[in-house]
């Protein structure tokens, strides 16, 4: 392995490798808009191909040490995973329904705690979906992969969740650290094993103020996006700095204020869309209201079919436009900002990694979709 000896002979203080995002914003916007329109035409079935397209775009425009990773997942796999997940979920729903009836008989709304069972299932799905995404990520001809057990993860997540509940959120940082340790310990790049060195205490030190004054933001609600953006930026930085693959480690210089703009812009767009839809509804009312006294004319409107059709069209357009905005800011822009703040140390030690690991099935993504816990 002359390569390794060469690396070992390098003088200390090799500069860290940068991570850069080179994606064109307009391209992403047209990708997301077209995807939203196709989602409408296909009654939502296009979502599998849209998330695939978005991931392919983000992965392939992120340059790590000059080379972009590749997302090798496909929409068809997600569709199949979703159908399999449905086949498994349906009998579970039926059992849930029957148990729910029994519980309700015992006491009204006693079946509500059964939702906890679905929360656990959701945690399992999150773990398995991460496994799918990771095994579809290939960099320099070697795939990332993951072992470990989704149920072991769900179990940990539930217990930590209980602790967070009991401490009114105080234990959140330790929960994140513990869960991330589990996930990263079971993540691999070829034969390089991952690990997570972020400490719960570190995250707590960086975020306790926001936790303590969080309730204030709920009262003075314009503070809420600021608090949340600040919290997210600190958390991202802590998370990235904790990631290890063998000797490779990440470092992030994401400023605390880096995400403020994203939240404000999304809120701005939301308000703008509200104004537009308000004007649209007003226009529809003006054009279609019958003659006669104002009150009677207004009462007749809900029975006016063209008016109701126009309202539904307006509502769908609003939802689609807002979805595009959310994807643009919270997926693409967030990704771009976080990625470009990152540097990779000791990447030389990943220069001759032996390939290992198999691609996992998309069943986990199917569960995540069916249970509405889907992530990126």
């Amino acid at each position: 392995m002359n390569q390794m000896s060469f690396v070992a002979g390098q003088p200390p203080g090799v500069p860290p490798a940068p991570v850069a995002f080179s994606g064109n914003r307009g391209r992403f916007l047209s990708l997301a808009s077209r995807g939203a329109a196709l989602e409408l035409v296909t009654f939502g079935f296009y979502r599998f191909w849209l998330v695939t397209d978005i991931r392919r775009h983000l992965w392939s425009h992120t340059l790590v040490d000059g080379d972009a990773p590749e997302y090798t997942g496909r929409g068809r796999e997600l569709l199949v995973g979703f159908l399999f997940a449905m086949a498994i979920l349906v009998p579970i729903y039926l059992v849930y329904f029957v148990i729910g009836i029994e519980a309700e008989r015992f006491k009204a709304f006693a079946s509500v705690p059964l939702v906890i069972g679905f929360y656990a299932f959701g945690q399992f799905a999150i773990y398995r979906a991460r496994r799918y995404r990771l095994t579809r990520t290939v960099w320099r001809g070697v795939r990332f992969w993951m072992d470990g057990s989704g149920w072991a993860y769900a179990w940990r997540s539930m217990l930590w969740g209980l602790l967070v509940l009991v401490t009114l959120g105080g234990a959140y940082a330790w929960r994140e650290a513990a869960l991330e340790r589990y996930k990263m310990h079971h993540s691999h790049y070829g034969d390089l094993q991952g690990s997570f060195e972020g400490r719960g205490w570190e995250l707590f030190k960086r975020t306790w103020g926001l936790w303590l004054f969080g309730p204030v933001a709920w009262i003075i609600f314009p503070l809420l996006p600021i608090f949340y953006a600040e919290f997210k930026a600190r958390e991202w930085r802590w998370w990235l700095c904790g990631i290890r693959f063998g000797d490779v480690r990440l470092e992030s210089k994401l400023p605390n204020t880096a995400l403020y703009g994203l939240y404000w812009k999304v809120i701005g767009w939301f308000l703008l869309f509200d104004l537009v839809i308000g004007a649209y509804v007003a226009l529809c009312v003006f054009l279609l209201k019958g003659s006669g006294p104002m009150e009677a004319a207004m009462q007749a409107l809900p029975k006016n079919i063209p008016f109701m059709v126009l309202l539904v069209i307006g509502y769908l357009a609003f939802i689609l436009a807002f979805n595009v905005v959310m994807r643009l800011y919270f997926q693409r822009d967030l990704w771009a900002r976080v990625a470009s703040s990152t540097k990779v140390h000791a990447i030389e030690s990943a220069e001759n990694v032996t390939a290992k690991g198999e691609a996992a099935s998309a069943l986990g993504e199917g569960f995540a979709d069916g249970l509405d816990v889907a992530g990126f």
């Binding site: 390569q3 060469f6 690396v7 080179s22 064109n24 196709l38 035409v41 296909t42 009654f43 939502g44 079935f45 296009y46 979502r47 191909w49 397209d53 392919r56 992965w59 392939s60 425009h61 340059l63 000059g66 080379d67 972009a68 590749e70 997302y71 090798t72 929409g75 449905m86 579970i92 729903y93 849930y96 329904f97 729910g100 009836i101 309700e104 008989r105 009204a108 709304f109 079946s111 679905f118 960099w139 320099r140 001809g141 070697v142 795939r143 790049y189 070829g190 029975k303 006016n304 079919i305 990943a350 220069e351 001759n352 990694v353 032996t354 390939a355 979709d369 069916g370 249970l371 509405d372």
Partner: protein, 372 residues
């Protein structure tokens, strides 16, 4: 670019024909030389020479300005990366099926087509298959399970309406007498437990398993025992036809399929949907019509006219036909129901179902009625 040891040590390759190669077995970056013959030949130092069939070469996602390709017959993760635009164009021109992996217009059209077909089939299943399945499955549901459904709905009902059933003894006796007369006349073999709930909403409903609730709001609007008798007979009709079980199967199946379409198949919404149907008794119009037929038959067998029931409903809802959205209504239009019952109106032949005193007692079951 830090082309490491390998690059530096090699005799400088023709820059135009050089590319980066990953063999898919390790992450080692190798500089290779490409030769375009019958096949694409990839050769580099310390590397067994690879030859790729042009027809097997596919484009893989790469950063802008980099042509990244894979080969179907090579190691699945082996990748060749070409940064030189001329060389990339040269290779592209030789690989006819380079873009076969990408999602072109035709595959999108196929996705749209299949989605529309799936949506159409789901709609057809909702319209035809599920009602049929509900009809066929309902007789198979054991009565004990139906009673459990009813008990569960009852607990929710009581929680929603404050759980207050009116307890005046004489009134309750009159109600039981009325319901018993109806039940015997209809031949319904089921223990029916009637009660009046203290809520101003004018409605009545039957829960699976035999609980029949009359809401005080409806009782207050009634002028005659026959009006209430008709309504109660209608509810007994739902019990006799086991409409709740049918409705639970129907709603559960429908909301699951709709969820399948839009991806929101969380158990909670299905359950909410199904249990809401229990509580609010939104039976379908067909079930309502059948229950009306049942009520008419029972009243006629008792020698009473069904018309008063129609009049009471009309008093509650008013004329409904002006609403063009009435196709979406869960019940038949009140005026149509009144018309149907009026046509069957005839002079009362049987004895009154309640004495004047019993009727007064029933009216004041929730406490004295304020005369308006």
């Amino acid at each position: 670019m830090e082309f490491t040891a390998n690059t530096a040590e090699q005799a400088a390759p023709d820059p135009v024909r050089s590319a980066v190669y990953y063999d898919g077995k390790s992450s080692r970056k190798r500089t290779v030389v490409l030769a375009f013959g019958d096949k694409l030949v990839i050769s580099g130092e310390g590397l067994p020479s690879e030859s790729w069939d042009y027809a097997d070469i596919r484009r893989a996602d790469g950063a802008p300005g980099v042509l990244r390709v894979s080969c179907l017959s090579a190691s699945p993760l082996a990748r060749l990366e070409i940064r030189d635009a001329t060389l990339a164009a040269d290779l592209e021109s030789r690989c006819a099926r380079l873009g076969d992996n990408s999602l072109d217009g035709r595959s999108i059209a196929r996705i749209v087509g299949w989605s529309l077909a799936a949506a159409a089939s789901i709609v057809l299943v909702i319209l035809f298959a599920i009602p049929l399945a509900a009809d066929r499955l309902t007789p198979l549901v054991p009565a004990s399970f139906e009673r459990r459904l009813g008990d569960a709905a009852d607990a929710q009902m009581k929680a929603v309406f404050g759980g207050h059933a009116c307890k005046a003894e004489a009134g309750q006796a009159a109600l039981v007498k009325l319901v018993d007369a109806l039940r015997k006349s209809s031949g319904l073999d089921l223990a029916v437990e009637p009660a009046v709930l203290d809520t101003p909403i004018p409605n009545a409903f039957a829960l699976p398993g035999g609980k029949v609730y009359l809401l005080k709001g409806l009782l207050a609007k009634a002028d005659d025992p026959d009006e209430i008798a008709g309504v109660l007979a209608h509810e007994l009709g739902h019990l006799a036809h086991r409409d709740s079980v049918r409705e639970v199967i129907y709603n559960g199946g429908t909301s699951f399929l709709v969820g399948l379409l839009f991806g929101d198949v969380t158990g909670s919404s299905t359950l909410i949907f199904a249990s809401r149907s229990l509580v609010t008794a939104t039976y379908s119009r067909e079930a309502e019509q059948n229950a009306d037929s049942f009520a008419i038959e029972v009243m006629q067998r008792l020698g009473r006219s069904p018309k008063p029931m129609g009049e009471l409903l009309f008093r509650v809802t008013g004329k409904e036909g002006d609403n063009p959205l009435s196709i979406l209504a869960s019940h038949p239009l009140t005026e149509d129901r009144l018309k149907r019952m009026s046509e069957l109106d005839r002079q009362a032949a049987g004895p009154p179902l309640l004495t004047r005193t019993e009727w007064t007692e029933l009216k004041s079951i929730c406490g004295p009625v304020s005369k308006t």
